[in-house]
Amino acid sequence: AATLQTHPGPYSGNLTPTPHEDVTHYNNFYEFGMGKADPATQSQAFHPLPWTLEITGLVRRPVRLDVEQLLRSPAIEERIYRMRCVEAWSMVIPWDGIPLATLLKDADPDPRATHVAFESIVRPSEMPGQNEALSGIQWPYVEGLRLDEAMNPLTLLALGIYGETLPNQNGAPLRLVVPWKYGFKGIKSIQRISLLDHEPPTTWNRLAPDEYGFYANVNPQVDHPRWSQATERVIGAHSLFGATRQPTLMFNGYGEQVADLYRGMDLRKNF
């Protein structure tokens, strides 16, 4: 990983980051295998650069971004965010990235656009998990947000962690970070962003619609069918009897910034 030019951004609060080793060796990235350690060991053959990010669909100015140039952008800032996985564990990650809104504004969304669809890459020769036929996952991995969620100042397009370019296992060369949603919304290795006038399909919702909704907002009151979401295991203890659980916060602690987006919605139905 190369060093990134970055500066402290807002919303970082008073959080202590999870050790670098855990952030880079405890990952869900099924393109590189299903085990938590697989992405770190099986992503070595992946070539994140050169890379072109396309912003297309209902935009007035379609954009094709050279990610190598983007990596030199002075707009890159550090955001230390809580990361809550739907599997009931959590980390704190110091991301380096650009607010997604900045890039979307450059593409000038058409007034008809209501949603944003994200598409990851398909490269089975470099991503062994994409050859795992049993999983039933359709590649590419796809995710989506409502346009107002995508434009929220918290929503980040991350290019790095810990002041360095993203390791392959963390979603190189660029990935989405939506800190008030479960981690699987944070689609990795993004190739295409499309603005749409309808809600796009999302990978986990397609696989198990009763377990993973389109919104996937962190919510301690709405349980996963197989486990409670009220608390979370804190990653980083490394000792069997010293591990801790903590209460999960509504919207992962970002309610002040995002609760308005869901005013009047039934969050049990729109989970």
Binding site: E21, D22, H25, Y26, M34, G35, K36, A37, W89, E132, L134, S135, G136, I137, L207, A208, D223, P225, R226, W227, S228, A230, T231, R233, I235, G236, A237, H238, S239, L240, F241, A243, R245
Partner: protein, 197 residues
């Protein structure tokens, strides 16, 4: 070798079967279970329980199809399955949830994933309790009937195991295939099998 040792040497296999549990605790205490040690510990114990359950179930078809008679290891493998399933439950209750009974109560009343796993363990309790020669003598024919409970227990455990992954995958598929084969082999008509030679 004294006669007693000769007759009971198999007892040493019980502590041998517990080595994985000791190894897991040791790893857990020395940072070798990774960033989420409780989860790995809990899942590994569950997997060992399922392995021993499959081993126990495989002994009858093994004799039938290959003639290799290892049926005397049914008690060993069955009791080890029960041992690991109990530790698996204890890890979930104690280590994972810190004996938070309200969470456990809601898990046990709402979540079919947990209910399936716990039901499998409950079905194994009478089998473990009657796994001694005295019970066999007292229960006579009913003992055999009672011990068929291992089949529903294995089916429940298999569904619980399948559900513990987000999707089917190359880790879980071989175990599930083994369970399916063992269960199906019971339905093969005897006449077509011959005498195993």
């Amino acid at each position: 070798m004294p006669g007693v040792l000769k007759r009971h040497w198999r007892l040493v296999l019980y502590p041998v079967g517990m080595i994985p549990a000791v190894w897991l605790v040791w790893q857990g205490q020395h940072g070798a279970l990774g960033a989420d040690p409780v989860n790995v510990f809990e899942r590994s114990l569950g997997l060992w329980a399922f392995r021993f359950l499959l081993a126990c179930l495989a002994l009858a078809p093994l004799r039938r199809f290959t003639g290799l008679n290892l049926l005397r290891y049914r008690r060993l493998t069955g009791l080890l399955a029960f041992f690991y399933a109990s530790l698996h439950l204890l890890a979930y209750v104690g280590l994972d949830h810190g004996f938070d009974w309200s969470v456990l109560w809601s898990d046990m009343t709402h979540r079919y994933f947990i209910i399936l796993g716990m039901s499998a363990l409950v079905l194994l309790i009478p089998l473990a309790l009657t796994s001694n020669a005295l019970s066999m003598r007292l229960l006579k024919r009913r003992w055999k009937f009672l011990h068929r409970l291992i089949y529903p227990a294995a089916i429940l455990a298999g569904i619980h195991f399948f559900l513990s992954f987000k999707t089917l995958n190359s880790v879980s598929a071989p175990y599930l295939a083994a369970l399916a084969l063992i269960l199906l082999s019971r339905f093969l008509p005897r006449s077509r099998i011959g005498n195993g030679t």
